[in-house]
Amino acid sequence: MIQAAYLTAIGMGTAVGLLLVLISSIVITKVIVNRLDRASDPKTFDEKEENIRQATAAAVAVSILKAKATESSRGN
């Protein structure tokens, strides 16, 4: 009976304990993955906005330059 009681306590305790370890590992991995994502991506909303603005400005500038180049070639 004592052995059975120990088995019950150790068996249930080990199962719960290991699943808690797995839950912790999932949470830790999630935190690490989020940090890695942030490190590779722009960090703030303002920075993202700035990037978008710069990209738009670059696209507009290239379009204007292309249009000017076409006009000048026509002129020749």
Binding site: L7, L18, L22, V33
Partner: protein, 385 residues
């Protein structure tokens, strides 16, 4: 004339016992349910065929290989039972490899708290364990090894039941294996009434948000962490846990699609054919019409039911503390029986509220149940053997 009488005496018909007749009818019922109603056909059909084959008299199909009887006398199912289940015990880990290759840990990683439900549902194992010990005290010949083998039926995991019984109580391996698989096949009948009894209509209608998208890195880290941590703590569970996680790493790595496909299709299918047929052949009239078998059958049902209720009640307890409520129906999936128990949670949830989609959420406790029962089997082997 004497020759004719001798021939008649050698036919199966002349040696057919009424108990064999009943078992053949049971086997035919399994086959009927599998084909006509498509109830777990991958289990019921081969088990039913195995029952019919094993109960036909004088076939020798289930004769075990032994030096005294002469190895040549062994029947095919006797050989399969001895080497694949009882002696070398290789089929359960192979089945786990295939299940691992089919398992998506995404829902578990997305909602890790559901893992605890898998642990809660293991309570059935210990209730049946104590029930078997009590029956042993009443004179039924169940010691602590047999009690552990009977209790693990509550994990509702056929391969784990076979794995543990083969190590601790090979004498009752055939019975525990058949009962575990029979209850797994009957999950659609056993669980829904309990689920409705222990939850309110309002609770069953709870909708859960779709799980978040899980990154590949997370899916790769989880099986590695599980493999190392579980085997470091419970090395005796290694054959099951290692194969399960290896199969899953094949899948999640994405670089070995042929190995993933082989593990989850060909290897799993071949193992399933031999396992289910062999399990079915253990359901012979001599075994079934026996008091110990009937008691194990009742204890197994008790274990399975208690596991289901344990998961449901723990989910309800969790809801007392959670801001975002979970549907308690997913708790019943903690009894393993992958993926049938998760499907039952989903169907019962949809009956209550067609908008609920519980399948991905129920896979969390379902997978946790597989891990939990394998861990407990490892603990039993470590401490009892």
């Amino acid at each position: 004339m004497q020759e004719l009488l001798d021939f008649i005496a050698t036919t199966g018909l002349a040696n057919l016992d009424w108990r064999n007749g009943i078992m053949i009818v049971v086997g035919l019922m399994f086959i009927y349910l599998a084909i006509r109603n498509e109830w777990e056909p991958y289990e019921l059909l081969p088990i039913g065929l195995g029952i019919v084959a094993a109960n036909l008299p004088l076939t020798g199909l289930i004769t075990l290989p032994s030096p005294s009887a002469g190895f040549q006398e062994a029947g095919i199912f006797g050989v399969l039972f001895h080497y694949c289940l009882s002696f070398w015990n290789i089929l359960p880990p192979i089945i786990f490899l295939g299940i691992g290759a089919l398992t998506d840990f995404g829902p578990v990683i997305a909602n890790p708290k559901t893992l605890i439900l898998g642990a809660a549902a293991q309570v059935g194992i210990f209730i049946a364990f104590w029930g078997a010990l009590f029956a042993g005290h009443l004179g039924l010949g169940f010691g602590i090894k047999e009690a552990a083998s009977i209790g693990i039926i509550g994990g509702a995991d056929g391969p784990t039941t076979i794995f543990l019984s083969a190590r601790l109580a090979p004498d009752i391996l055939g019975v525990t294996a058949v009962i575990a698989y029979s209850y797994m096949a009957a999950v659609a009948f056993i669980q829904p009434p309990l689920m409705k009894l222990f939850t309110t209509a309002k609770e069953r209608q709870i909708e859960m948000k779709p799980p978040r998208v899980v990154s590949k890195l997370e899916k790769l880290v989880f099986p590695n962490v599980a493999l190392i941590s579980i085997i470091l703590i419970v090395p005796k569970s290694a054959p099951l846990i290692a194969m399960f996680m290896i199969g899953n790493l094949f899948r999640e790595s994405g670089v070995v699609p042929r190995l993933t496909s082989a593990a989850s299709n060909e290897i799993l299918n071949i193992a399933t054919i031999f396992l289910m047929l062999t399990v079915g052949t253990q359901l012979t009239a001599e075994r079934v019409f026996d008091l110990e078998t009937i008691v194990i059958l009742c204890l197994g049902l008790m274990a399975f039911s208690c596991g289901t209720v344990g998961g449901l009640l723990f989910a309800k307890i969790m809801n007392l503390f959670l801001k975002e409520k979970i549907n308690p129906l997913i708790g019943s999936a903690g009894v393993s029986a992958v993926p049938m128990a998760a499907r039952i949670s989903h169907h019962v949830g949809q009956e209550a509220n067609p908008k609920t989609f519980l399948l991905p959420h129920a896979m969390g406790p379902n997978v946790a149940g597989v891990i939990g029962s394998a861990v407990i089997a490892g603990v039993f082997i470590s401490l009892v053997n």
